[in-house]
């Protein structure tokens, strides 16, 4: 399956990936409205790591053998049959955070502001290219098929 990969040597730490992730997962999908009106309920669905000049975005790896799937007690975390992406059904998530504990990449976050559910990358479900990749100004994020 196509996954998001990061070429960290070209990540410029602008964090536009976070900005556009948040907008993509807003109601309006309009950047100014999302930030000025919806933002208190929203958070970017990827984790951004930075130390010194090294930086990179860390969205969910959508592991073939995803520990979060086994850890989930309600079945909220599931694999989408069509895209093979690991998705979280926020209606079924009870916020036990076992997925957060189990994720080896630390790519799942708790959304305590809005849904109170696990917040993770859904590869911008329905979009051809995830928003973070489409808006990465330096092509540090790429969306491609690679041999595992």
């Amino acid at each position: 399956m196509k996954r998001i990969y990061v070429n960290e040597e070209y990540c410029i730490a602008c964090r536009l990936c976070e900005v556009h992730c948040l907008v993509q997962h807003s109601q309006s999908k309009k950047i100014i409205k999302a930030y000025k009106e919806e933002a208190p309920q929203l958070m970017p669905r990827l984790v951004f790591e930075e130390e010194g000049p090294l930086s990179f975005a860390m969205p969910c790896r959508h592991c073939a053998d995803a520990p979060c799937l086994d850890a989930c007690i309600t079945g909220a975390m599931h694999r989408d049959e069509e895209t093979e992406a690991v998705l979280c059904d926020e209606d079924r998530c009870v916020g036990c955070w076992m997925c957060v504990m189990a994720c080896p990449f630390g790519a799942i976050q708790r959304n305590l502001k809005g849904t109170k559910a696990a917040s993770k990358c859904d590869l911008c479900y329905g979009e051809e290219i995830p928003a973070c990749v489409a808006h990465c100004p330096n092509e540090a994020l790429v969306f491609e098929e690679r041999e595992q």
């Binding site: 040597e9 070209y10 410029i12 602008c14 964090r15 900005v19 950047i31 000049p53 330096n138 092509e139």
Partner: protein, 505 residues
């Protein structure tokens, strides 16, 4: 500390209705113009440090930022201009030489803008480059005085031994920009683009990073007065060698790469201690005459088995024609001439703006002089010094150049916004810097693609212009001044350029 009298050069105008406080501008400005105040959840801009590079403007996801010239007006004075006054204030505060990056930005006459090209109408047919072949291939190097061939058993054989040539797919080359003055990623972008476009780039006097040896066939290795990074392998891997005598932005003075830019990698490549200033002397200390130059040319030819062209780069100065004649007679295979508006990473502003002559006049003078002396075939001429578009390329070739060097144009393609602050090492576009936070902003995959696109686009335009003139090879345009006419030029200028005025048949 006394009060600085310098007003901010630029003003950041932030549209509060559009700013989402995402802080991209804060993270991207190496000059610390923008700052986020968590208490107010707001981004403020101290634009006194803004250099007008437009990094924040370009990356702002809501287009909330504009950068304008600070509208502060001094009392109108045609003599004591804004730039004069602030220059005096700066020198009064620092006691130092004013520095600038990039080429001359003063309104000296740009002759390109006073030249017009010809096209075919009725009496001679124009050529459609989309339907008919159009040759842009250019060979840089010494051409023989005559060619001898012999026929044996119906086969034609070339008896004359040809001098080594540098083959270019199109008459455009990337001019000398050293690793140190520009970032590794900028060098990689140039090298890859040169390979892709079938042209060459030039190492400047920064040596050649070992990872770039693979681009050797598309590399001109420069030997300059500091001799930085020159060793047998450096000479061997390159396609051609260039002795740098001078640079258009600063004729007559040397180079100075500040120690801060001499990182571990730059130090290894240049073969100098880390963190030390890399000083290129003004003259080569072994070249004080044409005879001395000849010795170095032949030393380099000898070192490389006479297998590659050896050129000489000089700045366009008043008596450039006899100088070029001397260089040709000293055995150079090509002469690169860098005009008044040629770029630089750092030069004293007063020198950049006042020393040298425009490339249009220099190339024309040299071409005419070499033709008069009957030695034009012995060298190729490369024109440098602000070739801004494909029209400039066509015009300068019609004035006698074989090919052009583009430096500033290439950097602009890489993202440079001509803020002229290369010498600070804080290039927000990741070009003229060695700061690891900044260099990664230039992704060579993007950079090489943009450069190759530029060369491709110009080549297409050159073909269109040639076709319009009814010429099907760039060779037929070289020195063909009949295709040029001048507008708004006086008789002396027209004579120097060797062209007629517009309207003259």
């Amino acid at each position: 500390m006394s009060l600085s009298l310098l007003p901010p050069e630029f003003k950041i105008v932030r549209d509060d209705a559009r700013c989402i406080a995402c802080q991209v501008c804060v993270r991207q400005c190496a000059n610390d113009v923008h700052a986020y105040d968590p208490e107010d959840d707001w981004v403020y801009s101290d634009y006194s440090r803004c250099v007008g590079c437009h990094r924040c403007v370009t990356l702002c996801p809501t287009n909330a930022i504009t950068c304008v010239q600070n509208p502060l007006d001094f009392r109108a004075n045609a003599n004591w201009t804004h730039a004069m006054i602030t220059g005096l204030h700066k020198q009064a505060e620092t006691g130092g030489i004013l520095l600038s990056g990039m080429g001359c930005d003063q309104p000296q006459r740009i002759y390109f803008d006073h030249l017009l090209l010809n096209a075919s109408q009725v009496t001679n047919p124009s050529i459609d480059p989309l339907r008919e072949p159009m040759e842009l291939r250019t060979h840089i190097g010494r051409k023989p005085d005559r060619v001898e061939i012999s026929c044996k058993d119906g086969k034609v054989k070339l008896d004359t031994k040809l001098a080594p040539q540098l083959e270019l797919a199109t008459p455009i080359m990337f001019s000398a920009m050293s690793y140190g003055s520009i970032s590794y990623n900028a060098c990689v972008s140039l090298a890859r683009a040169a390979k892709q476009a079938g042209i060459v780039y030039n190492t400047g006097e920064g040596g050649l990073h070992p990872t770039l040896y693979e681009y050797g066939p598309w590399t001109i290795a420069q030997v300059a007065s500091g001799r930085f990074g020159v060793h047998p392998e450096y000479l061997d891997v390159a396609a051609a060698l260039e002795i740098k005598i001078g640079q258009g932005a600063k004729p007559g003075i040397g180079g100075h790469l500040p120690g801060e830019k001499v990182s571990a990698d730059v130090s290894r490549t240049r073969m100098i201690p880390e963190g030390t200033d890399a000083l290129s002397p003004a003259p080569h200390h072994d070249i004080y005459s044409i005879e001395d130059l000849r010795q170095l040319i032949y030393a380099l030819k000898e070192a490389t088995d006479y297998e590659k062209p050896v050129g000489v780069k000089v700045a366009a100065v008043h008596n450039i024609a006899p100088i070029a004649s001397g260089i040709a007679r000293a055995g150079a295979d090509y002469i690169a001439i860098d005009g008044l508006r040629g770029g630089t990473g750092a030069a004293p502003t007063v020198i950049r703006n006042n020393v040298g002559i425009p490339i249009e006049l220099a190339i024309s003078a040299v071409d005419q002089r070499l033709r008069q002396e009957g030695i034009r075939n012995q060298v190729s001429l490369i024109a440098a010094g602000s070739i801004r578009n494909s029209g400039d390329v066509v015009k300068i070739i019609a004035l006698g150049a074989d090919a052009v060097y583009i430096g500033t144009g290439a950097l602009v393609a890489l993202g440079c916004h001509l803020c002229q602050k290369c010498y600070t090492g804080k290039c927000n576009w990741g070009i003229a810097t060695q700061d690891p936070y900044l260099t990664k902003r230039l992704n060579p995959n993007i950079g090489s693609r943009r450069l190759a696109n530029l060369v491709r686009a110009w080549s297409l335009e050159i073909k269109e212009m040639l076709g319009g003139m009814g010429v099907n090879a760039i060779e037929s345009l070289r020195g063909n001044r009949d295709h040029l006419r001048g507008v708004g030029l006086n008789e002396v200028e027209l004579r120097s350029l060797g062209i007629k005025a517009a309207g003259e048949a």
